[in-house]
Subunit: 335 residues, 2 copies
DNA sequence: TTGTAGGCGTTATCAA
DNA sequence: TTGATAACGCCTACAA
C-alpha cells in the first residue's frame, strides 16, 4: 500500500503521456522546459516515487549495491565494521540501497542470489572476504565489482585501498625519527596484500636511512590481537626499541601485555599500529596510521556507480593514510 | 549477462507452459508429480533463478528485508554489531536479502525509499534506532515491521526481545546469593525499556529476599563505557559490595577504573553486566547475562516473514537470557 | 491438471 | 518535442 502513485498518475495529472513523464523525470533531453516543470510539479504534488522493481525490469538499474564481507565475523572486527559504516553512509549519499552480504554457508546460492536475481547492480568486495571460494566465483562472474582492499591475484578488478606502502614507510620513518634503531615488525598474514605492502614500507623506511633491517626482528602475525598478546613475550624478549604492529588490534595486544608486565610504553619500548581503530580502546593510546574510512567508502561507492554506468574506473585508487600521534613512541617531534 | 535463463526457457525445456512451470517451481498444488519433477529438473539443469524484480512487479515478494539501525554508530557498538550479524545470518538462512539501513541524514527520503520503492517487504527495527524521527514515521507507515527490542510506547508493533526483567532478577539474585548485600545499580537510559526492565528485575530480586534497596546506590548511566569509567570514582566511593551495571560496556568501564586504581574484583567489589559482549575484551572477565543473539535474529526474521505472509505474530516474544559466570562476583556457587 | 492471456510500472524504440 | 507500443520476466485468474 505504501505508494499507489504510478507514472501514469503523474502523466495524467500533467496532461502528457507516460513516456514524456518518464523522460522529464529522468532528466532526459528533448522535453520542453515548461512541460518538464509541469511533470515535476505533478510528481511532487502526488509524492510520486518510481517503483524500482519496474525500473529494474524495464532494463534500468536497481539502485541497490551489495557489500560483500564473506563469512568474516563483524563482531569484534573494528576494521570490517568501519567499512560497513562508511560504505553505508556513502551509499546513502548516492541514494543507493545497500545489501549486506555476510553470507557464507551457502556459497553457490549466495552468488546466484546476487547475480541472477537482478537484485543488485554491482558489488563492493571487502578484502576481508577475499579468498573465500564463493567470493572468488563472484569475481569471475561479470558483474560490476570494486575491491575494497587489494586482491593478491586479481589485478583486473578495480581496487580502492589505502596506500599501504606509504603508510608503512611513513609510520616506520616516524619511529626511526624518534631515534629507535632496533625496530621490530609484527607482520600481517602473508596472503594479504595490505600486510605485505606495510612490510615493504617498513623496509623502505630503513633503506632510506641506510639502516639494516634485522630479520630476526620480523615476526609473523595474523592481524589478531589475542594472538599478538600470546606472542608478546617472545617479541619483547628480542628487546626491540620499538615495535611496528601491522594493525592496531595487534598493537593493542602488545600494549596489553606490556601493561600487565610492567613494561613501560614508550619509555621501555615504543609501539605503533595501523588502521586507526584504537580510539575504541580508550585505555590504550597507540600511535597509528589511520585508514581514511570515509573516503574509502565514498570512493568505492562512487567507482562502483561509475562502473555500473559504464564509465571507466582507474584500476587502482590509493588513498592517503593519516598519521595519528598518540604518544606510544614518545612525544610528537618538532618539525 | 548474469543469468539469461527465464521461466520461458524452463517451460520450453520441460515441455510445459510458463504457467505450469511457475506453479511447479513455486510449490503450488495442482501439478502432476511427474510434471513437477520434470520442471524442477529442467530448472536445475538450466540453473534457473527467478528474476526478483519481475516477481516483485507481478505482485509477489521482493525477498528482501530491511534492518533499521538508525544513525547509531555501528563502530564500537558491540550490541548493534551483534544484531547485524545475527539478523544477517538468519536472513541468509531464509534466503532473504538484507538491506542495511543505517541512514540518517535524509529522514523523509529514507523512509520513502523503503516504502514506496517496493524494494523491501518489511523491516526489522532495532531498539537502537527507536526515538529517531524518521524511524517513528516508519512505524506509522503500514509496512510489516518487527521491533528488535521494545519500544516505550508502540505496543502495537510485534516485538522480539530478551526477557530483561528476568535477566535483571536472575543476575541480581546471583549477586545476592554470593552474599553481597550493598548492591549498587548503574542503570541505563530512562528512555530505554530494556534498561528499565533490568532495573525492575534488580528490585524484584531484592524483594524476594526481603532486602531493602538503598536508593542512594542507584546511579544513572547511559550504556556508555567511557561515561561509566568517568563516574566510577563516585560509585566506588559509595562502597558497595557489588555493582550491577546495566550493560557490559559500563561494567567494563568500571572494571577498567578498578584495575587502574588497585581495586580488586571481586575481592573488594563484585561487578556484573548484561549483554554478553565482553569476550571482546579478553582482559576483562565479567559475569554477565548474555543476549541470545542468534535466537533474537532468527526469531525476528521468522516473525517478520510470517507478518509479510499475513500470518499472525505474537505481540511480544521474550527470549531467555543466559547467565555466564566469569568470576567477577566471586567463584561460581555450588548448586 | 494445464494453457492462454492480461497486467504489474517503467523504459526504449519508432513514428508522428 | 511528443505519443503509441512493445518489451522486461513473472504470476494468476480464467478457460479449456
Amino acid at each position: 500500500m505504501p505508494n499507489d502513485v504510478t507514472l501514469d498518475d503523474v502523466a495524467r495529472r500533467s496532461g502528457v503521456s507516460p513516456a514524456t513523464a518518464s523522460r522529464a523525470l529522468n532528466g532526459r533531453r528533448g522535453v520542453r522546459d515548461d512541460v518538464r516543470e509541469r511533470v515535476l510539479a505533478a510528481a511532487g504534488a502526488l509524492k510520486y516515487r518510481p517503483n524500482r522493481a519496474a525500473q529494474n525490469l524495464a532494463g534500468g538499474r536497481t539502485s541497490v549495491i551489495g557489500l560483500v564481507l564473506g563469512s568474516d565475523e563483524l563482531v569484534g572486527n573494528a576494521y570490517a565494521t568501519s567499512i560497513v559504516q562508511s560504505v553505508a553512509a556513502a551509499a546513502s549519499v548516492h541514494d543507493e540501497g545497500l545489501m549486506l552480504i555476510l553470507d557464507s554457508h551457502k556459497p553457490a546460492v549466495a552468488v546466484q542470489n546476487l547475480l541472477s536475481d537482478g537484485i543488485v547492480d554491482g558489488v563492493i568486495v571487502s578484502v576481508v572476504a577475499i579468498g573465500e571460494q564463493w567470493v572468488e566465483e563472484l569475481l569471475d562472474a561479470n558483474m560490476p565489482t570494486v575491491l575494497l582492499g587489494a586482491h593478491p591475484r586479481r589485478t583486473d578488478v578495480p581496487v580502492v585501498d589505502v596506500d599501504n606502502l606509504t603508510a608503512g614507510r611513513v609510520l616506520t620513518a616516524e619511529v626511526l625519527a624518534h631515534g629507535h634503531r632496533r625496530v621490530a615488525m609484527l607482520a600481517g598474514p602473508k596472503s594479504r596484500v595490505d600486510a605485505n605492502q606495510r612490510l615493504r614500507g617498513f623496509r623502505a623506511a630503513h633503506e632510506e636511512l641506510n639502516i639494516a633491517v634485522d630479520e630476526s626482528l620480523i615476526f609473523q602475525g595474523d592481524f589478531n590481537g589475542q594472538t599478538a598478546y600470546e606472542r608478546a613475550s617472545e617479541i619483547f624478549a628480542a628487546s626491540p626499541d620499538a615495535i611496528v604492529a601491522c594493525n592496531d588490534e595487534m598493537a593493542i595486544g602488545l600494549l596489553r601485555y606490556a601493561k600487565e608486565h610492567g613494561i613501560a610504553v614508550p619509555a621501555d619500548v615504543g609501539i605503533v599500529g595501523f588502521d586507526g581503530i584504537a580510539p575504541r580502546y580508550p585505555e590504550y593510546e597507540v600511535t597509528t596510521m589511520a585508514q581514511p574510512f570515509d573516503r574509502l567508502g565514498s570512493t568505492a561507492v562512487k567507482s562502483l556507480l561509475d562502473l555500473i554506468r559504464g564509465d571507466d574506473v582507474p584500476p587502482e585508487q590509493l588513498l592517503g593514510p593519516q598519521l595519528i600521534e598518540r604518544g606510544s613512541i614518545g612525544s610528537p617531534l618538532e618539525i
